[in-house]
Symmetry: C2
Subunit: 224 residues, 2 copies
Amino acid sequence: MEIKIMKNILDRNQNKANEVRNLLVSKNIVMVNIISSPGAGKTSLLERTCEHFGTKFRLGVIEGDVTTDRDAQRLKKYNIPIVVINTEGGCHLDSHSISKVLDSFDLDNLDLLLVENVGNLICPSQFDLGETFKLAVVSTTEGDDKPAKYPMLFRDARAVLLNKIDLIPYTNFSYTSFRNDLTAINAGIPLFEISCTRGDGMDDWYRWIENQILSPEDNHDSVR
Amino acid sequence: MEIKIMKNILDRNQNKANEVRNLLVSKNIVMVNIISSPGAGKTSLLERTCEHFGTKFRLGVIEGDVTTDRDAQRLKKYNIPIVVINTEGGCHLDSHSISKVLDSFDLDNLDLLLVENVGNLICPSQFDLGETFKLAVVSTTEGDDKPAKYPMLFRDARAVLLNKIDLIPYTNFSYTSFRNDLTAINAGIPLFEISCTRGDGMDDWYRWIENQILSPEDNHDSVR
């Protein structure tokens, strides 16, 4: 009974996600659904990325949070359009809330829409938002076992950002274990080893996301 | 419609949680529902706590995980009864799964049952397991804004463990911000500042949890 209800919820989410995806494809907009644990560094990644691309591309941000607009406040200085979705306790964004807030953006003047999902490694990976692709962010201080223990996201993501590599010397994080587990789940997935606070590895990430922006027609996850 | 369904699910969970709680009270068992983000240090806390109390009290562990038994494997060396609940994608434990696995323990020979919930700061806090109390674990590397951004858990918990204080020198974590936010949500809640890897602050935690074990009749969250 609960399984049937969950299927109905997911089906309705999928229908709306397909609408969102078709709209974004028609407007040549790349939308990235950024998913991580709380505190893995999604907002720091947005800060770096908005700073780097703020004049080169037309950016927009959707900030998903259980409550507060703290993350959005951190991004105000970049003068890009930001919309906050407070889920009021909800553990993930869904395609209906994304569809509603898309009206707030000038879709004819937008290249890249960065969606910071609610901090949660599980539920957000089950809800298609109509994104071009999912991006997994994971930090070294969470331990090297996250791909094995939370495989859904790492299976579905287009790329993985391993953040906080500057803190590795102070932890027992093993690159080898992390990479082996990730490869077992999603062989060949691009992996960027970065430090958003110190700036390590950001250039490779910028190059990769720029390629996604410049050829959006090749890059949309197929409409399901 | 979705709200009504969620209410039914929560009502059924609550009924079973009340049963579990009554059973635990009758057996003088303290059950701790340990909740945190992925990688905040729940399993490391269990390792330290099992090592410390392994001969003094009769312990048991329930390991909740989306998949794998990796956390349970880490605890095998303590020779205490451990049961793994794999949620197969589910984002939290519920009282029905706890009720089922309680049969695996010898409840007449158990003082402290430590439940490691699924790594998730949101959903587990909505589901009463029948625990004596909830324990919030949060790590400094997640940032100082977690109580403000995920208030539900910090409002309901009996105590907060702030883990990974050994890593503070390498982060921008602010004790003042953290404490101010926590106090605004739950003034007077016991806060233990610890490092499970280095051992800092563990003695205060051991003393506190020992007090909970020695007088369980005063400590059960009231049956709702």
